[in-house]
Subunit: 147 residues, 2 copies
DNA sequence: TATTGTTATACTCTATAACTATA
DNA sequence: TATAGTTATAGAGTATAACAATA
């Protein structure tokens, strides 16, 4: 039986709207950046290494929906900046484990990154109820990104 | 006075989480694409033209957080595909108004675009309550993208 | 002189292809 | 033969710089 009141938008409509919102927001975020600042992919790889401990290029690339060669580039840049370091795999000579350095852990705690500063400032303009709505949606978006 | 129970995450924490979620989701979305399919920027420009009517390159670029030269490229590709057409500005000879063609309006209604199909399928796995949470967050993300 | 739009060029991020080394 | 990683190259998307036309 169909309910006429407070009908939620269709999946088609909702997914279409979400698509547009994500696109605009990511362009806005990308434009908020200081020279030599990490991009979203580098931040994401660093966060995952902190959460799950040392990982290989292949595992990280799968987790971040990216080709291994692309993840290799990202890890090379993070290594050059001293945020991660390599350690040999204990049993498989082919594999290389990447782990956070102390500098990498510190970087994760940095509040000065332009993208974070801009986003926090933008969210600060929301009402408490709006912030709660957005917070509740974050894990859902994470699941979309993982799936 | 501080409240200890059900404390919401700090703005720093929330913005950091949102940053990561957006990054992963946008990469996932970008990977969902058929040959010659529109990208998120093209979809966004098309949607805005439908919502607000004919606009100039400069206005669109401001609205979409993009440089006028970049928007010019996007509009040129949309024009080549027959989704938009040019019309002269009534009073200012420098400006060019871009408007949706019938083909462009039809494209907006297409449900077959890979990104939309993937996203709708992923959202279909959510519970009704989760879908409602996500739907409520969409206008908030739009405001973040606009601001 | 300021603004609109165009053209040319370069940078960032990610993908594809070909290769080496280990399993 | 299959998998992990590297190197080289190419593509998509956007930016910067220089320019012409109109205001």
């Amino acid at each position: 039986m169909k309910v006429a009141l407070d009908r939620p938008p269709s999946l088609d409509k909702a997914s279409s709207e979400l698509l547009l919102a994500i696109g605009q927001l990511v362009r806005k975020l990308r434009s908020q950046s200081n020279p030599n600042e990490m991009n979203l992919s580098q931040m994401s790889a660093l966060a995952r290494l902190e959460q799950f401990g040392p990982m290989t290029t292949a595992d990280l690339s799968r987790a971040e929906a990216m080709k291994p060669q692309s993840m290799g580039t990202i890890l090379a840049s993070l290594e050059q900046d001293g945020f991660v370091h390599r350690q040999p795999h204990p049993t498989d000579g082919r594999q290389i484990l990447f782990a956070l350095t102390d500098k990498g852990k510190e970087e994760r705690r940095q509040r000065g990154i332009a993208k974070r500063v801009w986003l926090a400032a933008a969210m600060a303009k929301f009402t408490p109820a709006e912030r709660q709505t957005l917070n509740a949606a974050i894990p859902l978006m994470k699941r979309l990104g993982d799936g």
